[in-house]
């Protein structure tokens, strides 16, 4: 059993009972606080530092070759808990030779930012690493329609991210060597 030590409180001295010295100490503290560096941010002019793993607005990205990575597998659409994502699949444009090993592409890709809960499941589930929640945190609009990000907007927000795998290129090489899939 732990030994309990009862601390004897010293009775307050006369000066302590007037509280005046304590008030003076408090006044000193607040006064010195006046000259400390301010902790607040002048927001629209100064932006906060966004950490690396921040989950901002979901965006679609292109690979360093400028190709749209999304293959319209619709996994993100299925996994999205608030059903914010709506994908209209389409075919890959004929003139894009670089994407010949991809069967599908998106015709339209919409994320309703009024529904999105920034959970990041879409990023987690994406087999092509095409959707990322990046550092954009401020989205606003005057109408509900404005808050639905379409494909163009999503690629504009996403930009290009470095690719670690070049999955399509590897597939092309493998196919050339006769062991596709």
């Amino acid at each position: 059993m732990a030994k309990t030590v009862v601390l004897q409180r010293k009775p307050l001295s006369l000066s302590e009972r007037t509280y005046l010295p304590q008030i003076v100490t408090g006044l000193k503290t607040t006064f010195s606080n006046m000259f400390k560096e301010k902790v607040t941010l002048q927001y629209p002019e100064e932006k906060p530092n966004i950490p690396k793993n921040y989950r901002g607005v979901p965006t679609l990205v292109k690979d360093p070759n400028g190709r749209e990575k999304c293959v319209s597998c619709q996994l993100c659409e299925f996994v999205c808990p608030p059903k914010a994502i709506r994908i209209t699949p389409g075919s890959v444009p004929e003139d894009e030779v670089d994407r010949e090993h991809v069967e599908k592409a998106t015709q339209e890709f919409e994320i309703n930012m009024l529904r999105c809960i920034y959970c990041g499941y879409c990023q987690e589930v994406c087999p092509e690493e095409a959707i990322f929640l990046q550092d954009e945190y401020s989205s606003s609009g005057y109408t509900r329609e404005e808050m639905i990000n379409n494909k163009e907007k999503l690629y504009e927000l996403g930009g290009t991210l470095p690719d670690q795998h070049y999955k399509w290129d590897k597939k092309k090489v493998a196919e050339g060597e006769g062991n596709a899939h």
């Binding site: 008030i23 408090g26 006044l27 503290t29 607040t30 006064f31 606080n33 006046m34 000259f35 400390k36 560096e37 301010k38 902790v39 607040t40 002048q42």
Partner: protein, 372 residues
Amino acid sequence: MFDVELLLMIGLKVLFALLMIGAVMTMAGYSVLAERKVSAWMQGRVGPNRTVLPLVGSLPFVGRFLKGLGIFQPLADGLKFLFKEEMIPGHVNKFYYNLAPIVALVPALTTMTVLPFGEFFTENGESIPLMLANLEVGILFVLAVSSLGVYGIVLAGWSSNSKYPFLGGIRSSAQMISYELAMGLSLLPVFLWVSEPGTGAMGLSLVDIVNSQSQNAWLLLVQPLSALIFLIALFAETNRLPFDMPESETDLVGGFHTEYGGFKFGIFFVAEYAHIVVGSAIFTIVFLGGWHFLPWMADPWPATWIGSLIGVGWFLAKTIFLIFFFIWVRWTLPRFRYDQVMNLGWTKLLPLALLNLIFYVLLVTWLDQPPA
């Protein structure tokens, strides 16, 4: 038919009164800004720094500086109050509800008529105090009128016909009654000390009390205990933290002004700060030597109009420091509980003020006894 001189004098007095109201109201408005700025600085924030007037803001260096200080914020706040819709809740007693803000503001503006804030030197070297009305019973007038300010709060609380304002009103009346006594008693020894026979200063005049501190010790140094009790009572009388019982935002929503909005709320707000300005001025006059330089030192400025300007500036500087002190204390101390306020007022301050009075009565009697 008309006495031109009389008319001229009345006209001048009205002009001076308007100037004085302008000065005090401006100071009250800027105390609100100071409150916001100082609280922000003490909490590591920046405070209001966005409001700006179109032309002034585009000045190269000054404009940015003034914007950063939030100099134009009181204008914006005042305009906001002015343009808001005047809501009158259905459940209030309309007459008293409308009367209360006026009753709160009028005493604050009335007390300043007897506040001396400087001296003017005539050509033959006489000094005339700068004030609207030189009353012989200055301090008595101030105490009497400023305590009327509580009626505004009580009326507001009562006429609002809702529980939180009511509680605020009740607390405020109880607090005012408790601290008024200590305040009056703490001032008595000061006037006993000043009006000793032979000095020429008699009675309760605020001018005499300032002049008695010229080239002499400030009364703060002579009677520190009286000054302390007066200061604490002043905090209570102006409803400032740690004694802001009538408002107590945390437990009474908005206190007495919960049901008020728009310009009526603005008037309450300005009245509170006008009380602080006037209270600081009175403390400066009574305990800090008014417009005189430092204790035991003659005024270093010449006895001309420049001197009187510097004197007024010095008086304002002291007053502004005290206003800062009010704000400073507000952002340092938490609010007392209601019973603690009553306890402090009745069982600590009042006996202390009485003892202080008795001590100084004996001391002054002993000092003033005629040589045998």
